[in-house]
Symmetry: C2
Subunit: 198 residues, 2 copies
Amino acid sequence: MMNLFKSLLLHIIFFLSSSSSSSINNTGSTAIQFRNISEIPQNSHGIAGYSHITLAGSFAHGMKEVEVWLETFAPGSHTPIHRHSCEEVFIILKGTATLFLASNSHPSHFPGNPHQIPVFQNSTFIVPVNHPHQLWNTHEHEDLQFLAIISRPPVKVFIYDDWFMPHTEAKLKFPIFWDEGFVQPNTSKDHHDHNDDL
Amino acid sequence: MMNLFKSLLLHIIFFLSSSSSSSINNTGSTAIQFRNISEIPQNSHGIAGYSHITLAGSFAHGMKEVEVWLETFAPGSHTPIHRHSCEEVFIILKGTATLFLASNSHPSHFPGNPHQIPVFQNSTFIVPVNHPHQLWNTHEHEDLQFLAIISRPPVKVFIYDDWFMPHTEAKLKFPIFWDEGFVQPNTSKDHHDHNDDL
């Protein structure tokens, strides 16, 4: 496994140094939405130290059941504390991070002090449905880059100000930052929600 | 983007050369199923030139909505021609391949001559629901390695002998090879199905 990955990475480096452009959006009537990832623009969505690429998305590509993101966080930057009523799988491609994770069954109706789990390059983990979580790039110098895979797109994210905010006070952010360009302006504002999916 | 990836890869190489083991299966009552990918055994499932790791799976990890696989094919090896009634996203990590892809709406009730799409390292594409497809490692010397993400696990794969086999004759392979260890022996055999999900 180790050798395979090393070989993989050396070849990707070679490839990135030498590749030319190619793009196929359709093959006859069959849309595969083929893309060269190194040619897809990253977007910070106005957030310092952040960049995002939707590899396969609900609004962007018509996905109905899964969505895949490539996300990069500069040293010291982090996601908000948030939850969503979908499954999420992470694959850490680069860097080290601390995953802060609370249960959705805290007796006090707020997340409470989270578990702290160190995660690192070439590791994978699953965030259970509706568990409040936050990922921090804890490396001094190195970017954190990961793939995040969610079910039930488009994602409806509830954001907490801190770990002691009641679940019912978490704010719905829908559409999420990177989906804002795809929807009507009057549906793109933050607003409170009944939090009834927790 | 190019520089980010190059940096990523160099750091992963360093990391893989120097990392030590770590594994956390639970954090209190909160199972995140954290794993170091380089410590997960690959399994060929008796198929020459093939190896598979389920990063997040229905049988393996209790996933209900998405499943993520890391797959490796030796030069000249390939998937069967197959279809499944779920979404699938590919991310090519290493190597070059030809994607053979047919529509699910061929007038003759069989896949017919497929489109041929060259794919390569650091590319991504989406296979539409129920479209018969096959991925061949077309590189002479280099392994093909990719992440495959599917919805609606566990996957129910219908396998074709060739591109001119009627959709209704494709054989259901359930459970798929890597899930066989998780189920009762009497449900693990190949069998025909009504093909009623096409």
